[in-house]
């Protein structure tokens, strides 16, 4: 993993004129810095522009006039990032293994079946699950497959847009531990609406606030992620963050 953190670049999105979608100003003029090899959590109310920022970084949305995405090594992010969404986005015509191998399939590369099976095992699926179709898997298992698919891409930068919000709380808890372990050393931008998730996983927490919104940095509890959920300092920070988001 150390080799990876050396190669994982940090990046910075700068929007000198903010961003408007459909005539409405969504983001105020702002900059969002995501440090290399760390997990940066981005919180904010619905519609605050969290997903928009991730999509800008992923190149899924065109940058507004003057907008830039700069990296710490001055090479473009394209080809170096993996994207994980709220929906598992598993394709129904492939089994779990085939979904993990989707990237290689789309690019026409030779599939590394051994590594895919290994990743499926790491996210907690047994051998028999690999041949199951998405319809045969539970929501939590599907999201595990999606996590394995994201890791299979083996990209230094990982953008996650509310990746665990569609699963139940205990599953989410387990998936967070898994993700923190398996994503170590990568540059991660994690969009979430769950204060606890941000406080457990993030090295850095940003909150999108105001209208139009701009990111503000908050302090994180001591300790390295994944932080234990029962830590009193973390729970106090959660209450504070929740009130801040609800304000």
């Amino acid at each position: 993993m150390s080799a990876l953190s050396l190669s994982a670049p940090g990046f910075r999105i700068t929007l000198p004129q903010g961003l408007s979608l459909g005539g409405a100003a969504v983001l105020a003029p702002c900059a969002l810095a995501v440090p290399a090899g760390r997990i940066t959590a981005l919180l904010g109310a619905s519609g605050a522009g969290k997903s928009t920022l991730v999509r800008l970084a992923a190149g899924l949305l065109p940058l507004p006039p003057g907008g830039t995405v700069e990296t710490s090594d001055n090479r473009p992010l394209k080809g170096r990032l993996a994207w994980m969404a709220q929906q598992d986005l598993l394709v129904p015509w492939k089994d779990a293994l085939g979904n993990v191998l989707l990237g290689a399939h789309l690019r026409g590369h030779k599939p590394d079946i051994g590594r895919a099976l290994d990743l499926l095992r790491q996210v907690g699926l047994i051998e028999a699950d690999a041949a199951k179709s998405p319809a045969q898997l539970s929501g939590g298992m599907r999201q595990r497959v999606a996590l394995a698919r994201t890791l299979m891409e083996d990209r230094p930068v990982v953008l996650m847009d509310e990746p665990f919000s569609a699963v139940d709380a205990p599953t989410r808890h387990r998936l967070q531990e898994l993700a923190a372990r398996l994503l170590a050393g990568r540059t991660v931008l994690l969009v979430t609406h769950d204060p606890l998730e941000a406080l457990r996983l993030a090295d850095r927490i940003l909150v999108l606030q105001g209208r139009p919104a701009a990111p503000m940095e908050l302090s994180v509890p001591a300790g390295t992620p994944p932080r234990p959920a029962r830590d009193p300092a973390l729970l106090a920070a959660q209450a504070e963050l929740l009130e801040r988001l609800a304000a």
């Binding site: 999509r55 992923a58 190149g59 899924l60 394209k78 080809g79 990032l81 993996a82 994207w83 969404a85 929906q87 986005l89 394709v91 129904p92 015509w93 989707l102 990237g103 399939h105 789309l106 690019r107 026409g108 179709s133 319809a135 891409e153 953008l159």
Partner: protein, 251 residues
Amino acid sequence: MRALAAALGILLLWQGFTWATDMPPFLLPSPWRVAQALAARWDILAGHALVTAIEMLAGLALGALLGCGMALTLAAWRGGRRWLLPLLLVSQAVPVFAIAPLLTLWLGYGMGSKVAMATIIIFFPVATAFYDGLRRTELGLLDLAHSMDAPRAALLWRLRVPAALPALASGLRVAAAVAPIGAVVGEWVGASAGLGYQMMQANGRSQADVMFAALFILALMALALWFTTDRLLRRAIPWQPDSLLSEETSR
């Protein structure tokens, strides 16, 4: 089983109706009379049925192929959409009955004109259903593929096309259901063989029982074609959701 019982019920009603009203057989023959005609002319009818079946199957194959080609072209070629979409609509706006004489004129009295007619009828549902499916790929999937640096061709062939297969299957089911229309209309306009031709001949000689016999065979063939198509599509696309089927099996 229930379908068989329903068919039997209708036949009994029909038989009873012809008995009760003493309907002359040249207007409405009894099922029994139709069955006799069917048995007596079985060899001739079977020969004609084979011709119609070949026309239907050839039309289905050609129409499905052309329909898929059209849908893929529309999906892949942005500039072509403006030109091809009106063409697609015109192919259906002009009633096939109206162009049937022309096709017979150009392609002759043989199978060619009937296959062409069936192809024109089948082409449209396949093209529109598949094209609709190709357009409706989940946006999240396209984003995902984009983040995976999928080349443009892979987006079409490895994402849009498999995602559109259930829609294509709907189109093919409709196509299988309307395939007999093209073939039979073609045979009415001008032919030397086929069930449609046989029906015209029988009509001219007031042989209503033969007409019904031909119709019966046509209906059986249409049913067989639809159910075979449906079965094959289910097997080919096992992941397509079918909430009605799962409702039946869970009962």
